[in-house]
Subunit: 205 residues, 2 copies
């Protein structure tokens, strides 16, 4: 009996059965209806470019610029649908370039977050308390939560199975009927772990 071989097979089985697909989110903006009107004009309707992995979420063709006190990032993606309040999600690398200090937060939690100026070729708006660094999280359906033995809002660890292995701690589990199993990390997290296309993570409770 070869113990190493058995261990290897067990590990492979665990990886197959409990792995979570990783998706790297680039910097993006969710615009409010008011900001869409101000930036693009009253009657303007943004053009959907493609659907995202989470059902009902999509990317528009139009882009905007982020203007911070120390730097500018051009050509930033706009995601839809429109929100009640504009939310800008950047990496910490982006934040340093822009010269702002956004908090690490879950989507929607914008109190005391950072302020940024958003522009396009025709207009400029100031988005007060709008910028966060997205807290890493896993989207899953209730049946996934049951399978993994976790619950909504639980904080878990995830080992990224890359060639520069990292365990990300304090990852928020988000459970909803409408979600598709997917972990969202930003480019700092992906680059830190050397993530390549198709990388998966192992949930550690």
């Amino acid at each position: 009996m070869n113990v190493d071989l058995i261990l290897k097979k067990v590990m492979k089985k665990i990886e197959e059965d409990y792995s979570i697909p990783i998706e790297v989110s680039a910097r993006h903006v969710h615009l409010s209806k008011d900001h869409i009107e101000k930036l693009f004009g009253k009657e303007y309707s943004l053009t959907i470019k493609k659907n995202l992995s989470q059902p009902g979420q999509y990317q528009y063709q139009e882009r905007v610029n982020l203007i911070g006190p120390k730097g500018v990032i051009t050509g930033v993606t706009i995601l839809g649908p429109a929100r009640d309040k504009t939310q800008v999600e950047v990496s910490r690398t982006d934040a340093i370039k822009l010269g702002i200090k956004p908090p690490v937060r879950e989507s929607g939690d914008l109190k005391d977050s950072e302020t940024i100026v958003i522009s396009n070729e025709r207009e400029v708006v100031k988005a007060t308390e709008s910028v966060i660094i997205a807290k890493r999280h896993i989207h899953m359906e209730p049946k996934d939560a049951e399978y993994f033995g976790v619950r909504d809002k639980q904080s878990v660890g995830v080992k990224l199975l890359s060639n520069r292995p990292v365990i990300l701690q304090d990852v928020t589990v988000r459970v909803d009927e409408s979600y598709k199993l997917n972990m969202h990390i930003d480019h700092d997290e992906a680059n830190c772990a050397g993530c390549e296309e198709g990388v998966v993570g192992l949930l550690i409770v």
Copy 2:
């Protein structure tokens, strides 16, 4: 007896006794004597700006530019003393900007690494097989190695005690009489973990 309080005290004691100072290395270049001559001129002597944490290592005042197939990074630090072969250390974020795919390597291990063009205001040189992403590592003296119960070249984990906690795995221990206890990570790793000035790590064997 308050178990939570005791646990907290024990954790604090462990953190105090076993923590490793973290240093974030920005992108930099170690130039060969040949490349220094080519870039700056035959009789030119680079000016030392400041000493680094590792004894005998310093930063020069002069800077260079890195020119990749897809992008340019200007004002890159040169570290001394001069080496036999030029070595360029960038983050993965930098590598993507430059348009190159350097391997994650220990210092000095340059076989099949990436090639980059280095320029300054007077000259341009091509540094073949010179670019790596520095593999995270801990410098320590033999007495530290004994204290932590690790040996030279051992692969360990380090939990970064930041507000965005991460366990970096496959960290190389490097033991030498001349070293000072310090863990070196790059900006991707620092940003992934949200490292602030003075952050420390806990060694996990």
